[in-house]
Assembly symmetry: C2
Homo-oligomer: 240 residues x 2
């Protein structure tokens, strides 16, 4: 049963940004934009269109400056997440929203953005499989599950895991039947034509190729994580 | 093995339109925009942003007028498909592309748009489960599968079936390993939190609710289909 009165209107929003992975937004949008008695808004640093890392252009509804307090904030990932890890406006927005949001919902490497905002400290969390080793640098306890819930933080694995996670979020907000109705509308009864969707099931050669392709971005993410960790240790010792 | 030389650059495009279901585009975009040696363009009646039926705004790359011949044309669906069933510019575009495209790839009720362009005549095809009964009015043989291939027509069931279909399209264009690499990147190893993704598996009450909700649009689609059928019969008798 959902914990929220069905008469309470819910405001759901997603941070969107240049070089994000569009599916981290659009998969969950399909479910979350259908939550009964709720509104969904896309939010960016400003209201000019953003371009996802493969070129799809999406228009933000609101700027961060104009965004109200949300009930649920979706934080997608994608290579462009790295450029925001030190962005004071974005980090302040995430922290501000996290204080009163019912849920922070990270998809894929959106978890790393949450990490940069300090939202992963002491939390169980997940992310894209290529970035799992980055999570501990942000104080998180990495969990190799598709959807991980720890308090008000819901994190999912890579890209399409956001679809599974979004149905979980719908059920937390409005109950299982609302989630099932949306799942049926979305015809979400997957039949994958190949068996290669996780490191555990992909053929070894496919795993090697995709890991190698992600190597440069993974190294950048590790460097950023180490930098975060050093600055936290510095803060902690300064506090003593 | 794919039938196309890997040195041949492929042009992939999607028709996009007002009140489409964004996931019919964005699910397949995630895979098709990663096809090796290929370009993906969104194409609309003009280049002003379109708004999906839940409000997500997407920018077209090209107008129909400026669109070149494509190797693959993705035709998404959603309620807005009805408004284009008699749109001469759109119907002519679909017919023109279908003559030389390697594949026409319909997702969800995008199949009905293909039907209005005469592309379903004598073909096995599928669509969103609420619209299956509309297919025969366009001369199609409806098949209750998630992905149906008949010659150069690849059609999928509702919304998220487009993700499964797009991996099939990748494999036809560039081979199974290319599809598997993309699947692994997308972490497409679905674990649905509920079992309600098809009319066969959804709880009866959920099925009743969602069917009832779709009733008005289903009736409009049936009316349009009957109109198409009458005009085809008229043409055929005039040809005799």
């Amino acid at each position: 049963m959902p914990s929220i009165d069905s008469d309470t209107h819910l405001l759901i929003g997603a941070l969107i940004f240049e070089d994000m992975d569009q599916c981290d937004l659009t998969g969950p949008f399909e479910a979350l934009s259908r939550v009964p008695n709720a509104t969904f808004k896309t939010i960016a640093k400003d209201t000019t269109p953003i371009r996802d890392l493969r070129g799809l252009r999406i228009l933000p509804d609101l700027s961060i400056e104009d965004a109200p307090q949300l009930d649920v904030l979706l934080v997608p990932g994608g290579y462009g997440q790295e450029a925001l890890m030190d962005d004071e406006q974005v980090i302040a927005f995430l922290r501000r929203q996290a204080r009163h949001a019912r849920y922070i919902f990270s998809v894929c490497t959106g978890a790393l953005l949450c990490g940069a905002a300090g939202l992963l400290e002491g939390k169980r969390a997940t992310t894209h499989w290529t970035a799992m080793e980055v999570l501990p640098l942000f104080g998180a306890d990495p969990v190799n599950d598709r959807v991980v819930i720890d308090g008000n933080l819901i994190s999912t694995g890579g890209v399409t895991a956001g679809i599974d996670g979004s149905l979980t979020v719908v059920s937390l907000l409005r109950g299982n039947e609302a989630a099932e109705e949306i799942q049926l509308y979305m015809a979400y009864d997957p039949k994958t034509p190949f068996t290669a969707g996780s490191p555990e099931t992909a053929p070894p050669r496919v795993l090697r190729t995709v890991t190698e392709r992600a190597k440069a971005i993974t190294e950048r993410r590790m460097d950023t994580g180490r930098r975060y960790q050093r600055s936290r240790q510095h803060e902690t010792s300064a506090d003593r």
